[in-house]
């Protein structure tokens, strides 16, 4: 019993099945003005969008790499192809999607989920969205759900007003990169007082090696409207680094509600440098539910900007880092108006030398009197070689607030393992059960299929193949 269980490099089964790198067009590696112009031309974009791209490229060249977080030295931009067009256009029927690509999404359960529990689906493969659908009755109510390229063409005024406005292109180096080479992503517009009772889901799959995915998600939930949006991402594993630098901009207008659920399951050669922000209006609410599993390095700090009086946000997130992974995540909230509130519930699990850092920001401005913020972070380390850190930054400019921060770092309990083993569970079963229990407050917030997927991921991570 004393001998430590050896959990080998995991078999991520369905996620690791690679398709042939069978693109229609793959842009030369690296980043230059020519490359940016060529992407824009391929997309037949209006001038104003090319202008944004070129400004962003300029910003990219000026901005420094962040030095305060994980080591990014393995990321070499001149080894990354920023645009890979799959061998198909946007389809509205799965029958029209090429066999190999459709099989990939079948394995990930997307068409199945679409039939059962979704109001609309978007599926991106490498740089372009290959499938998009939305229920007829939602179209009648004025809901728009389409890929970003279509939005640029058909709703230029809305896009101009919101694109890279919530997240400015100078925010950090990878936002600038994103804005220069963005491709794909989803656009959602929910008109006033329209409430969707079943979710929309976009899935992003990166198949091509030595490439990047830069999808842009723009969601506008108008006054009194309500939406649940689900985002899923995955990629098979390659030996060389892949890059994901998506950007998510969310506008939640007065009295509106948005729930944004994510399961990120990138392969362990992925640099995931993603940016997500929401601007929240009066008495509106955004809830984030996030599970971050894969990637070699993640730097991901969703932010809620509570600009309207009485705005609310909740963040429920879990991060799981195994061997060779450095996941630097956290939630940021800006309280910018009176009586706003935020609740943060973050969990992290690290094993086999993996590192999880919870890097948080809470800013409560002078104006935000009567606001409330409560933060709880819990970390579970499965062995002595793994790491877990909490780095909170709290910047509170008024006394009239209720603020609480609670951080707990713990090891998996030997007593609990023994209890479960005494009931016939193997050590791996017992650990997986305890970890699932630890993750439960997050998984219960996820859509059912994703909760199941998350538990499977935990099982895969912990049960592995034992030598």
């Amino acid at each position: 019993m004393a001998s430590k269980t050896k959990v080998e490099d995991i078999n991520r089964n369905i996620y690791d099945i690679k398709d042939k790198d069978n693109y229609e067009f793959k842009i030369q590696k690296g980043l230059s003005r020519e490359i940016v112009e060529e992407i824009s031309k391929k997309k037949n974009e209006p001038e104003w969008m090319l202008d944004i791209r070129l400004k962003a490229l300029e910003a990219y060249n000026k901005l420094e790499l962040p030095t305060w977080g994980p080591d990014l030295s393995e990321l070499k931009m001149d080894e990354i192809a920023t645009y890979v067009k799959p061998k198909t256009n946007l389809n509205t029927s799965w029958d029209d999607v090429p066999e190999d690509i459709k099989n990939t999404f079948d394995r990930l359960g997307i068409p199945e989920a679409e039939k059962k529990s979704l109001a609309g689906v978007g599926a991106q493969y490498d740089s372009e969205v290959v499938y998009h659908s939305i229920k007829e009755d939602l179209i009648k109510q004025g809901v728009i759900y389409t890929d970003m390229e279509t939005a640029v063409r058909e709703y230029p005024e809305i896009v101009k007003e919101h694109f890279m406005k919530c997240v400015p292109i100078t925010d950090h180096k990878f936002v600038a990169l994103h804005a220069a080479v963005w491709s794909g992503g989803s656009f959602v517009y929910v008109p006033e007082n329209v409430k969707l009772d079943i979710p929309l889901q976009s899935y992003f799959r990166l198949n091509s090696p030595e490439s990047g995915q830069f999808e842009h998600t723009l969601i506008i939930v108008e006054k009194g409207a309500s939406l649940h949006f689900i985002e899923g991402c995955s990629a098979p594993k390659y030996n060389k680094v892949n890059l994901h630098a998506g950007c998510v901009e969310l506008y939640v207008k007065d009295d509106a509600y948005l729930r944004y659920s994510t399961i990120e399951n990138w392969s362990k050669n992925m640099m995931n440098l993603n940016t997500k922000k929401a601007i929240v209006g009066k008495n509106a609410q955004i809830d984030w539910v996030t599970g971050s599993f894969g990637s070699k390095v993640s730097m991901l700090y969703p932010m809620s900007i509570l600009n309207g009086e009485g705005a609310k946000t909740e963040y429920t997130g879990i991060t799981f880092a195994g061997a060779g992974q450095n996941l630097d995540t956290g939630f940021k909230v800006i309280h910018n108006a009176p009586n706003t509130s935020s609740v943060v519930n973050s969990k992290s699990i690290s094993k086999d030398g993996g590192a999880c850092t919870y890097r948080a920001l809470v800013r409560i401005s002078e104006k935000a009197k009567g606001s409330k913020c409560s933060v709880s972070c819990e970390s579970l380390m499965l062995d002595d070689i793994s790491r877990s850190d909490t780095i909170p930054v709290n910047d509170i400019e008024t006394d009239e607030v209720e603020f609480s921060h609670e951080a707990k770092i713990g090891k998996i309990s030997d007593k609990e393992i023994f209890y479960l083993m005494s009931r016939g569970l193997s050590e791996e079963d017992a650990k997986a059960m305890i970890v699932r229990g630890f993750a439960y407050p997050v998984s219960k917030e996820l859509p059912v299929e994703y909760a199941v997927e998350m538990n499977n991921l935990i099982n895969i991570e912990l049960e592995g193949s034992i030598g």
């Binding site: 019993m1 030997d414 609990e416 209890y419 479960l420 009931r423 016939g424 079963d429 229990g437 630890f438």
Partner: protein, 249 residues
């Protein structure tokens, strides 16, 4: 006699402190054994060591179950051989309902897949007999259960898992009089000619309705006296003073 458990000259330590100091114990099928002893004597240690809790180190001695040396087996393998322990303080495990856990564990210790219909029927019967709130098994395993509810849940697990040997570590502690009677009832429901029970207790109450075969007094890591039922009554009256003195001589 049909020997189930046999422990010979067992020495056990934890954190370099010797706790069990040459313990012998033999249990046959069909028997009910009781272990009593002062706080810190090593009773829970004994139960833990039988199930090979890695917190304890066996220095020497043998533990055999159905004639097989189980010293080196992992806890779950020992559970599968048919040894069960009711914990002095059961752990709380969030994220799995008690019901699903019972099914899961039953499948782990069984050789054949568990029949759903029979499982449900028996479970309902046990819950009734143990006067448990049927809603309780829908809640996460032991999470937020009262002390008494946790103990009854241990007995429920014993009934469901049907071990050959059940070790009950102070299952009666902290229970009200009615609950103690319910636990004895549970033990009687479980007990038959082919299995055995080892009851660790400080209290005679639980023994009232049980057919006790042997009472052992465990002091300072050894069994210093074995007797019949009356020994428990004597301890109740006079305490352990006499046996501790014997030790010091």
């Amino acid at each position: 006699m049909d020997k189930l458990l046999e422990i010979k000259d067992l020495h056990v330590s934890a954190q370099n402190k010797e706790i069990l100091k040459g313990l012998n114990l033999s249990i046959n099928r069909g028997e009910v054994h009781v272990i009593m002893g002062p706080n810190g004597a090593g009773k829970s240690t004994l139960a833990n060591v039988i199930l090979n809790n890695p917190q304890y180190t066996k220095i020497s001695g043998k533990i055999r179950f159905e004639g097989e040396n189980i010293n080196e087996l992992k806890t779950n393998e020992i559970a599968k051989k048919g040894i069960f322990m009711s914990f002095q303080s059961p752990e709380e495990i969030p994220g799995i309902s008690t019901l699903n856990f019972l099914k899961y564990a039953k499948n782990k210790v069984s050789d054949e897949p568990v029949k759903s219909f029979k499982f449900r029927y028996l479970l309902k019967k046990y819950i009734d007999e143990l006067n448990m709130n049927p809603k309780l098994i829908e809640r996460n395993l032991n999470v937020g259960f009262s002390g008494g509810e946790k103990k009854k849940n241990e007995i429920l697990q014993m009934l469901v898992l049907e071990p050959k040997l059940a070790i009950l570590d102070e299952t009666d502690s902290g229970l009200d009089v009615d609950a103690i009677r319910t636990v004895s009832k549970g033990i009687n429901m479980y007990k038959n000619d082919t299995n055995a029970v080892l009851i660790i207790t400080h209290n005679n109450k639980i023994l009232e309705n049980l057919d006790v075969d042997y009472v052992h007094i465990l002091v300072d890591g050894k069994i210093v006296k074995t007797g019949k039922r009356e020994l428990a009554d004597e301890i109740e009256k006079n305490g352990y003073e006499k046996y501790k003195k014997v030790e010091e001589e």
